[in-house]
Amino acid sequence: MTTNILEMRGITKTFPGVKALSDVTLDVSRGEVHAICGENGAGKSTLMKVLSGVYPHGTYTGDIVFEDEIVEFKSISDSEAKGIVIIHQELALSPYLSIAENIFLNNEQRGAFGLIDWNKTNSEAAKLLARVGLRENPTTRIMDIGVGKQQLVEIAKALSKRVKLLILDEPTAALNDDDSDHLLDLILHLKGQGITSIIISHKLNEIKKVSDAVTIIRDGRAIETIAKVDVTEERIIKDMVGRDLEHRYPDHTPDIGEEILRVEDWTAFHPQDVTRMIVDHVNLSVRAGEIVGIAGLMGAGRTEFAMSLFGRSYGSRITGKVFKHGTEIKTRTVTEAIDNGIAYATEDRKTYGLNLIEDIKRNVSMAALHRLVRKGLVNDNEEYQVANEYRTSMNIKAPNVLVKTGKLSGGNQQKVVLSKWIYSNPDVLILDEPTRGIDVGAKYEIYTIINKLAAAGKGVIVISSELPELLGICDRIYTLAEGAITGEFPIETATPETLIKHMTMEKAR
């Protein structure tokens, strides 16, 4: 028996058009806490999905060796049967069921006649809750306890499955400091009981606190594994961003003019939990012809800031001021925001951006239909012509504009979304993850479009979790952490290292 509980050897996983993982090797020793680090989209979650059987054997190449035996998981239940349990970032609990019911979901404690034995269910659940240090009644409903406690319920559920290898995907992303500390202590406590853990995290201080080794993943490759004694923040950051920012970005010569938009003291709270501040006194500005980046990790409040600004589409108790060309404007509704020359292209184009059952034409005209009205009626022919012009100028690959947007590739869908907003004739465009889920070639085209917008005198705000992208296209970059602006860098002074440092900065408490 080797000391390794898990060896992933030469794992390669491709999606159509994208190589998500290439030849990744990961060794995890028995009884250690192993951290995996990397930027968003680097391939960490994909690797864990391969390991847990979400992507079944046969959809990837390479071998997984678990407890000295090559395993071929076809589904999550296969990996769970071996003692590998993954806890996803978005918790998989049913809010209306009790803690005990959730723990034993699909593993129900049965008694006579195959009926559920509620006494056994609740008493076993109570024992598990004691092990994770959660003092709650097993019959309490999940919706009545906080996120931190829900995370513990997930771990109790994992324990009920006799877990040997516990995988936690950004477990503290949604937790406050106390809950985070408790969770990290619990991971160390479980380690004492012989349970191995893999923890995916961005937070460098918590990695240093709990992990025995760190593997850094970048662009689908495992860069290196660092033992605990050698872990330094600088080394991790250097591995995460890499040194070569290849020539993946079109040339951009900024021609920056007057300030177009300025936001002052913008604050927003969570829509349900109205005491939780999500956007924290944000101040920022964008000038004509300028491309401004907002760098922040997932959960930093980037999208929430943009959407709360764009007609209060997110949040509650929103306060702050918006100035356009120095005059205060209101953006209380989306219509008002659009009328004031602001456009917001969402990060989730399928859910929030497109009407997938409609054609390109009607999607392009959706935000500015009034421009096509002649004598009270929409002019179809002109609409066709407008859409066709965008199809040509944006290089949307479709035989004509009557093709349903649901049939287009991600890159072409994104071009339709951008066309829609450009046709609304805005002065400021907020582009939220404009290249997410798009292949490299289409990314270049999107960057070119962004450059053209800036060259036309528009102000462009790009929200992205890919640092190379921001460094490649922006003139100025703000960093956002925990809802607050933590730094502002002209492109000349911005380096990946300083950005990451400010993106992971935690508030003084």
Binding site: V334, L369, H370, L377, V378, N381, K404
Partner: protein, 409 residues
């Protein structure tokens, strides 16, 4: 369906050496695919014409088909709009009964002039829509629940208004709404000249409109269908319209209900396709979030949709009451289900975003022909119900199958 749309589209780029007949055929097939519901109506008509030895297409029966189904068709127009936006309205039958009862009070018990009674009744329909629209759009209660409640509320209120009796004997002008005919204005002929004239005008208007659309499209560089097929279609439609006008002319002339319907179809066809409001309905039904983030005022659109539905339900109630010359407690029973069936048979999607006024009308006519044809054949009401249920199920199943085959998302 979509793959059929993309296939002919490349036709514009096809080099001239390619077989012209193939591209012609692909156009015809694509059109037939798009108008599957129209073909279904033709098939049902042919089937029952054969089964009933031609009784179905007798002038009197054609006239009856319109008059007997007018109120369902009026409801189907509003219903398809509600369904496109992703809602449903279960209350329309009860609202029709309630408004019918109110109109009885106005026109018969209070003896108000017929036109005032009609206007007030439509106003009550609008108020009902305001009530339901408020709960749906501004409070956020699902339309299914609000209109289920409305179904009970307005049925109850109808009984309250009627006070356990029927109200009957409406003024003649009021009754015309349900069983009046526009005829004999030029004296008595075997074939009513007015009806034929209107038919002729309708045919000319249709041809002019089609030609104008075609010219407009080619002017803007859009691809148009082959001329031969375009002309063939026009000839077929002209023939159908001509036969229809002939049938009406040789019976009693143009039913008033048909005039009301024709006006509604024209207005709402334009509303759904050419106005900002109509486009917003499709946008909301297709993706509510995306619509909202595109600056569309979802709540306002939802609200006015239900106000509109309330008015149309009121109109349907008036037509039905006028036809029976009686406002009774059982009026409007099951109307909502026929109207919903019409919309779905006519191609509306259960998830919203898809559906047309024309489709809903044809869906309603299919139900009407089924009702009428089976009645002529002497099939009992119990089997009629079962057959209609089966047709609804098959129509939607066909739609789902079609979407899956074309790889819709």
């Amino acid at each position: 369906m979509s793959d059929q749309e993309t296939t002919p589209a490349t036709g514009g780029l096809v080099n001239p050496s390619e077989n012209k007949a193939t591209s012609w055929l692909s156009h015809v097939l694509a059109d037939l695919g798009k108008n599957g519901i129209f073909i279904a109506l033709v098939l049902v008509v042919v089937l029952f014409t054969v089964l009933t030895d031609g009784i179905l297409l007798r002038p009197q029966n054609i006239s009856n088909l319109i008059v007997q189904n007018g109120y369902i068709l009026v409801l189907a127009i509003g219903m398809v709009m509600v369904i496109v936006a992703g809602h449903i309205d279960l209350s329309v039958g009860s609202v029709a009964a309630f408004v019918g009862a109110c109109s009885g009070v106005f026109a018969v018990q209070w003896g108000l002039p017929w036109w005032l009674a009609i206007i007030m009744s439509l106003g009550i329909g609008a108020l009902v829509g305001v009530w339901q629209g408020f709960w749906i759009a501004y409070v956020g209660i699902p339309a299914f629940i609000v209109t289920l409640a409305g179904m009970l509320i307005f049925r109850g209120l109808a009984l309250v208004v009627l006070g356990n009796t029927n109200i009957g004997s409406f003024p003649a002008e009021y009754r015309a709404l349900g069983n009046g005919f526009l005829t004999d204005v030029f004296g008595e002929f075997d074939l009513d000249p007015l009806t034929l004239g209107v038919g002729l005008i309708a045919v000319i208007a249709l041809i002019v409109q089609q030609v104008r659309t075609r010219l407009g499209r080619s002017k803007y560089g859009q691809e148009v269908e082959p001329l031969v097929w375009f002309v063939t279609k026009l000839v077929l439609i002209t023939a159908a319209l001509g036969f229809f006008a002939y049938a009406l002319a040789s019976y009693k002339g143009i039913p008033v209900t048909l005039i009301v319907l024709a006006v509604l179809v024209l207005i709402y066809g334009v509303v759904m396709n050419r106005t900002v409001f109509g486009r917003h309905i499709y946008a909301i039904g297709g993706n509510r979030h995306a619509a909202e983030l595109s600056g569309i005022k979802n709540r306002k659109v939802d609200f006015y949709l239900f106000v509109n539905m309330g008015v149309l339900a009121a109109l349907a109630g008036l037509i039905f009451t006028a036809r029976l010359n009686l406002a009774g407690p059982k009026a409007g029973d099951g109307f909502e289900l026929e109207a919903i069936s019409a919309a779905f048979i006519g191609g509306a999607a259960v998830q919203g975003g898809i559906g047309t006024v024309g489709g809903a009308i044809i869906g309603g006519l299919i139900i009407g022909v089924l009702n009428n044809g089976m009645s002529i054949l002497g099939i009992g009401i119990e089997w009629q119900q079962a057959v209609k249920g089966l047709v609804l199920l098959l129509a939607v199943a066909f739609d789902v199958y079609n979407k899956r085959r074309s790889g819709g998302h």
